[in-house]
């Protein structure tokens, strides 16, 4: 056995990676608990990849076969309904964890110098995760997914100059058709995973290069927090978190497996109560709040531009909040909390 291990060690040099993990220190302080969210996202992404591959064995991204192939997965393939349910719930769990991770980094101001790029790649990873959800929502090709995608792909139209083009690009034409379905499928299973992996590689590299941040107050006081080795001390703790999350995911997926709506009909009117996935609800409600016209400009255009500005501000947060310990930093933190309360309130309102 030791000879086999030595053979692999000679070729792969795994001990160097283990040594690096042992030398890497995870600082211990009152915010350390939030460090567990990063690896939890990776676990959910891994589950997404595995279940996605299993679903792709049977799913057919055509107008006639998409809904029927999912019906087959749910009724004919052994445990197909669980695989689909785990895929769907894992997406929800992953996006919740991404949000928690992002909020924890924002509130502890861990994005401050020199970790600006780590935050920016994280914000892009959030955008890619949301786009994953958006493209995946259409794939069952049922009444609700068609109507929600029509509404969703209509939103970019409100953007001046490039809006029309963006909508056409997303739909693969003027309207949501079979071309949109195949386009979303390709984006969902090839383009987005590649983009996500690339961003993830840069994000993880930056975390390894710059290390984990200390609380702001410790840094100001020049304190050195105690730490523990990443490998194996921190990873053993993380493994316990992964096990609990995995158990929760499987239990929820079994008990609350999502049903499959009737096949979409391109000629049928939109069903009542069309709503996007929960993570787009606050944007959906914001759009509904704006009047048709504000002066000479369309209300939707103003809403979309404001949302775009908000997203840009989130992306550039480390550059906006470049002095987090001063009064400016406190104002930015208050504004971020206000935004969180707004998003939560709007989501609840949309559900009522």
């Amino acid at each position: 056995m030791s000879k086999i291990a030595a053979w692999f060690e000679e070729r792969l040099g795994i001990s160097a990676v283990v040594r690096f993990g042992a030398q890497k220190q995870v600082p211990l302080h009152k915010h350390t608990i939030w460090s567990y969210t990063g690896s939890a996202i990776l676990v959910f992404f891994g589950i997404q990849v595995a279940t996605g591959i299993l679903l792709a064995f049977y799913y057919r991204p055509t107008l006639e076969a998409a809904n029927a192939s999912l019906e087959r997965i749910m009724t004919e393939i052994s445990f197909g309904w669980i695989v689909r349910s785990i895929h769907s719930w894992s997406a929800t769990f992953m996006i919740i964890t991404v949000f928690v991770h992002l909020v924890s980094v924002a509130l502890t101001k861990a994005y401050r110098k020199p970790r600006e790029l780590t935050w920016m790649t994280g914000a892009l990873l959030l955008a890619v995760s949301l786009f994953f959800g958006f493209t995946g929502y259409l794939l069952p090709w049922d009444e609700l997914s068609l109507a929600a995608t029509k509404v969703g792909t209509d939103i970019p139209k409100a953007v001046p100059v490039v809006g029309e083009w963006a909508t056409k690009f997303l739909r693969g034409g003027d309207d949501v058709t079979g071309d949109t379905l195949s386009r979303f499928f390709i984006l969902h299973v090839t383009v987005l995973p590649l983009v996500l992996l690339l961003l993830l590689a840069v994000h993880v590299y930056l975390i390894q290069k710059l290390g984990m941040s200390l609380p702001l107050e410790s840094e100001i006081r020049g304190e050195k927090a105690p730490g523990m080795s990443f490998w194996p001390n921190f990873v053993a703790r993380e493994a316990a978190v992964w096990l609990v999350l995995l158990g929760l995911l499987i239990t929820v997926a079994v008990l609350f497996a999502p049903s499959l709506g009737p096949p979409a009909d391109l000629m049928a009117p939109a069903p009542e109560g069309v709503k996007p996935e929960w993570y787009f609800l606050f944007l959906f409600q914001t759009l509904k709040l704006f009047p048709a016209k504000v002066g000479f400009v369309s209300g939707e255009t103003i809403a979309v531009l404001l949302i775009g500005l908000g997203a840009l501000a989130l992306f550039l947060l480390p550059l906006i909040d470049n002095r987090p310990e001063t009064r400016k930093g406190k104002i930015v933190a208050a504004a971020f909390l206000a935004f969180l309360a707004y998003a939560l309130g709007m989501s609840v309102w949309s559900l009522l």
Binding site: M74, T75, S78, W81, P226, A236, G247, S259, G261
Partner: protein, 113 residues
């Protein structure tokens, strides 16, 4: 003389041939067999589902398998977490001997004096 008889025979043969072919083509046309390829409706279309399809076990065996799996999974997770907790304590104890006091972990390890 021979040529007249020959032409009569040829005429007769044509009449016989025509009388054989015409009724059969008339029958085929009347029954629509000749147009059957164009008008074939094919296999009956499956009914379009109008109600949501609930997700769940396909059979009692599958239902039992799922319940048994869930009942096995949670105790297994608890046992694994217990084993990991022991492992973490041991690792922290070892780390406390190796590292300088400033780097010692403060959760799970022995108290630093």
């Amino acid at each position: 003389m021979r040529s007249r008889r020959g032409s009569r025979l040829a005429g007769l043969a044509l009449v016989v041939l025509a009388s054989c072919l015409l009724p059969s083509s008339a029958v085929r046309t009347a029954s629509g067999e000749g147009l059957a390829i164009q008008a074939d409706p094919g296999p009956p279309k499956p009914e379009v589902r109008t109600e949501p399809l609930p997700a769940g076990p396909r059979s009692p065996q599958e239902r039992t398998a799922v319940i048994v799996f869930l009942a096995w999974m949670w105790p297994s997770i608890l046992v694994l977490i217990y084993v990991l907790r022991l492992k973490v304590r041991e690792l922290d104890r070892l780390a406390s001997f190796e590292e300088p006091p400033s780097n010692r972990p403060n959760d799970g390890g022995p108290a630093v004096r």
